[in-house]
């Protein structure tokens, strides 16, 4: 029975921890109380069946056990003195939806503490909000569980030192939190997407949990186009995971992927959320990236892709986010429209900024191959090898070097 119930606990966890953290003004106590409540639920629900409103049941149980723990602990005086009147024993009321969404957003925002390294922000969100075990998070990041344990403990101490106010945020604060939390979720996904050195299953965990958190934001803030777009973007990208690597562990470029391996259900759901985001309006970086991803997944092949549309999306994205990497992607789309020579010329401006970026050299190498400059292509690909690529990337690049060498021998 327990694994069926665990799924329900996992589903309730973000809202429950968020509400309990506000109740107790203490994240550790919130986590402990929630764990106690789940343990109680295992017995009670197995005997009497699951309640119609599991969140209300868990919150009431957690509030009571949390208060018990407080009475027995030394933290009691400190915590009770801050808000004694709020902590009288009583059934926990489900916070109203407005309060609940601010609670969850606050909890996620606390994880995005500016003094924390980006990976530690992600790790602590996975631990506290999602409830992954330290071991699971450690394998997601390819570090030892002990190392991850220490990092999470350190991160929690930093968080505890500068508490975030529990008052209702102003609209500006809410907007700021939403932006930072969304970025953290986006980077959680990217971390999973790019950690191709690890065992396949583990890196997928980060992608899946990022999607779960993006879903949570959309559920809490249904009128926010940018968050619907973020979810759309993650789903549309994740849908392609089955085709990213071939049977030999070689990274397969988007153009060459077997599109029948793309997940149609996820593409449909991503597209639905993109349409919803477009209906709401608000152009932002996620909606443009989601539109680009949608243009790719709706095309039957690389040649049948609407490249002019994708090129214009990248131009818009570059206007909002004028970074060399966005420009690189823009040039890649331009190469499809205006040819490799045009793209190679455009790439020259990026040489300084992206000389340490593997994809810059990989793309340049491919374009040089296209125009038959194999010597220069080999140099570009060798630059990729020098920049510590992941194994699947390295295999793909080594094959390209071999092709160019063969061409040179043939001449």
């Amino acid at each position: 029975m327990s694994d069926w119930l665990e799924a329900t606990f996992a589903q309730q966890r973000p809202r429950a921890i968020a509400a309990l953290a506000r109740m107790f003004r203490d994240i550790d106590l919130a986590e402990d109380a929630f764990a106690d409540a789940c343990l109680k639920a295992l017995t009670a629900w197995s005997e009497h069946g699951a309640p119609r409103d599991p969140l209300a049941w868990l919150l009431t149980a957690a509030r009571n056990t949390g208060l018990d723990r407080l009475r027995k602990s030394q933290r009691r005086a400190a915590i009770l003195s801050r808000h004694a009147e709020e902590l009288q024993p009583m059934p926990a009321e489900i916070p109203d939806p407005d309060e609940m969404r601010d609670d969850v957003l606050r909890l996620l925002f606390i994880c995005c503490h500016p003094e924390l390294d980006r990976r530690d922000q992600i790790a602590i969100a996975l631990r506290v909000v999602v409830g992954l075990s330290v071991g699971e998070i450690a394998s997601g990041f390819l570090v030892k569980p002990k190392t991850m344990e220490q990092r999470i403990t350190r991160a929690k101490k930093k968080i505890a030192k500068s508490p975030v106010a529990f008052e209702t945020p102003t609209p500006e604060e809410r907007g700021d939190r939403m932006g930072k939390v969304s970025l953290m979720i986006y980077l959680m996904f990217s971390e999973g997407w790019s950690t191709s050195a690890g065992p396949e299953q583990m890196k997928l965990t980060l992608c899946e949990e990022a999607i779960r958190l993006a879903r949570l934001l959309v559920a809490l803030f249904p009128a926010m186009g940018e968050q619907a777009a973020l979810l759309a973007l993650l789903l549309l990208q994740h849908a392609r995971r089955g085709a990213r690597m071939d049977a030999n562990g070689r990274l397969v470029a988007l153009d060459d992927q077997d599109r029948s391996l793309w997940n149609r259900t996820e593409i449909a759901e991503g597209t639905a959320h993109l349409q919803k985001a477009e209906r709401i309006g608000h152009r932002g970086v996620y909606i443009i990236q989601a539109a680009i991803a949608a243009a790719h997944v709706s095309a039957p092949s690389s040649t049948d892709t609407d490249w002019p549309l994708i090129e214009s999306h990248y131009a818009a994205l570059y206007a909002l986010q004028p970074t060399p990497v966005v420009r690189l992607n823009h040039i890649a789309a331009q190469a499809k429209l205006y040819g490799p020579r045009h793209a190679l010329k455009a790439l020259e401006d990026l040489t300084g900024d992206l000389s340490n970026y593997r994809w810059f050299h990989a793309m340049r190498g491919g374009l040089l191959q296209d125009v038959g400059e194999h010597k220069a292509a080999i140099q570009a690909f060798e630059a990729v090898i020098g920049l510590a690529p992941t194994t699947p990337e390295r295999i793909a690049v080594e094959e390209k070097i071999a092709i160019s060498k063969k061409e040179l021998r043939g001449l």
């Binding site: 799924a7 329900t8 969404r101 779960r212 809490l220």
Partner: protein
């Protein structure tokens, strides 16, 4: 009589299940679909999560267009997740079929259909 077997549960819980439990749920659905296929026409749908929905609310006044909103705030209680509908001999047979997809994460409702159009028309 046509009966609908509607499925209620919390969106996201299925995804949080371990793989073998997911397979267990899905094998129930496959069994039901195979059984229904043998009987004749049926319809079945699995809906996307409620977050993907848009609401068309009644117009505030006569002549006004209906109000389109981006969905209710997250309701943590049960959601309508999907349904099956087919012609059954009687309630008892409909219940037997419904039992095939019973699982701890879903509540099923077996309800007679007053009118059906399309593939399993009641007319």
């Amino acid at each position: 009589m046509i009966y609908a077997i509607t499925i209620y549960g919390e969106a996201g819980v299925f995804e949080a299940l371990p793989k073998d439990r997911q397979d267990q749920v899905m094998s129930g659905h496959r069994a039901l679909q195979d059984a229904l296929k043998k009987k004749g026409d049926f319809v079945s749908m699995r809906l996307m999560p409620p977050t993907s929905a848009v609401m068309v609310e009644p117009a505030a006044s006569d002549g006004a267009p209906p109000l389109i909103t981006d969905g209710p705030f997250a309701d943590t209680k049960e959601n309508f997740l999907g349904f099956y509908a087919a012609d059954f001999v009687n309630l008892s047979e409909a219940l037997d079929y419904a039992k095939l997809i019973s699982s701890p994460i879903a509540r099923l409702e077996v309800r007679p259909v007053a009118w059906a159009g399309g593939a399993i028309s009641s007319e």
